[in-house]
Symmetry: C2
DNA sequence: GGCTGGCTTCCACTGAGCGGAAACCAGTTA
DNA sequence: TAACTGGTTTCCGCTCAGTGGAAGCCAGCC
């Protein structure tokens, strides 16, 4: 063995993928050294693989020498989850047009909500979520709704973990949260008040598919509108019903792949 | 050599990437055999690599055994081109709200236009474009606009190729096309009439950044509205100006990576 | 002109990858 | 029930692609 830090048993594939995964942690472009560090690879190895990824268009090199995810990757990934996003998009837009507030479409992956789509106006609201981003379920309205209507074992498994606290207002007591979820199931919607980020509150309703909870749509508003949030409920419910109708024919598994399955 | 069909010199990386690339050609899920075929790999090799990709969440396996691009890839890719898309999104939405027609945001990659964003209503129009999809520049309004305002050498290089014909109305004569581009540059907008697909026409205007053509926004309409298309010009120009203002501060290269550079 | 931090190239050793073959596993037909 | 079919999974010994330390390179800075 040449030097000592060889790490046998590591597949080439895992090295390539960990290079791509390096871009998950940080926005923006990375230098070769950054990539090598984040992916835990020797510099020369990283160099060789990064070059090959660049040739294939999966990474792109900026004029300043740093690397960024290539546009080919983006093109490729547009195919994922297209069914649900494409079908729901016009309705999420309507939701925004009718309320004037930032509108979200989210599903569950494991223990988190994944934001599938997001429609907002040019007057920007401070945002915690972003398309393709995740947040914990117990701190968001869309998350709570999904959790509330999920099967028992999913909910139990979720509550059986340490619940992360984002602000002073995040509900992290499992007992109280369980009670809240019951109430959400009864009233058919969930709200949050500064539980992810100070200054904003949110309200969400479920979107069902073949009898099961499939997704959730919600609005995020500035805190000062918290008291009157529920006035948006009729619109939310109307739009949810439309999305349910529009997606009813598409089999659940092709809507978003089979990602909704795993609990982690 | 074991059997004979070993293909020496092929890197593992290229094999992994060609598996991902297999999903570019076809929508929908692929069986292992499909993947092996499309990527030109022996079945057992494909099997091993596909498994590893699945473990990493870059592919996902549906209940029926077929494979689909994993959601992790989608999450990852959301970071690409985020700047332009995020900044422009609200305005593209406005464009749709104000006109009621399918609105597009597109940029150039190589010899094609790449659709970055797309806003449309629930009354679906037959569509040739899709987000993440490409079309030739000479057959689309957004493409013609970009080509018209590009630097000379880009335009010359483009016209110097065999121009693909999509319908009987596609303009494929280089001379005539060059004249058309000159006119587009003078009048500040481009139109098409059934040049990609029968039944639809389109109109587009340029979006500049630091003096150069950066992107284009456009509308697609049913052919019967072709005669009155230009009534949307004021809105198109207004929205373009707003996008220019919103993106002016962001350096061009971070807007979409450095993909705009290459001519292939 | 020497230093520093990052990128690129080189090359001989070696274990990860290879892929043909055979087993396996539904469906489906005889 | 058995044979067939089309796809998936497992196995294993050979071998060459991958490896990564080291040295060279380059640009900017003190």
């Amino acid at each position: 063995m040449a030097g000592g830090s060889r790490e046998p048993g590591r597949t080439v594939t895992s090295k390539v993928l960990s290079i791509l995964a390096a871009f998950e942690q940080s926005r923006g472009a990375l230098s070769l050294t950054d990539i090598a560090e984040k992916s835990g690879l020797p510099l020369s190895t990283a160099h060789r693989l990064v070059n090959e990824l660049t040739d294939w268009g999966f990474l792109s090199r900026e004029p300043n020498g740093r690397y960024q995810l290539g546009i080919r990757l983006w093109e490729l990934a547009q195919n994922t989850g297209r069914q649900l996003r494409d079908a729901a998009r016009p309705y999420v837009q309507d939701l925004f047009s009718l309320t004037g507030e930032t509108a979200h479409l989210a599903v569950r992956t494991g223990h988190e909500v994944l934001y599938i789509d997001r429609v907002y106006g040019s007057k920007r609201v401070p945002r915690a979520s972003r398309v393709g981003g995740r947040l914990p379920m117990h701190a968001t309205a869309v998350g709570k709704v999904i959790l509330a209507f999920e099967e028992d074992w999913v909910r139990d498994a979720y509550l059986n973990r340490q619940l992360e606290r984002h602000t002073a207002h995040t509900h992290v007591d499992p007992k109280k949260l369980a009670a809240e979820l019951t109430q959400i199931r009864e009233q058919g919607y969930a709200t949050t008040l500064e539980e992810v980020r100070l200054g904003s509150c949110s309200i969400a309703v479920p979107v069902f598919h073949t009898g099961r909870i499939g997704a959730s749509i919600g609005l995020v508003l500035p805190t000062n509108q918290a008291a009157t949030m529920t006035r948006h409920l009729p619109v939310l419910r109307g739009i949810a019903a439309q999305i349910e109708r529009a997606t009813a024919r598409i089999p659940l598994e092709t809507l978003l792949g089979s990602h909704v399955a795993g609990t982690d």
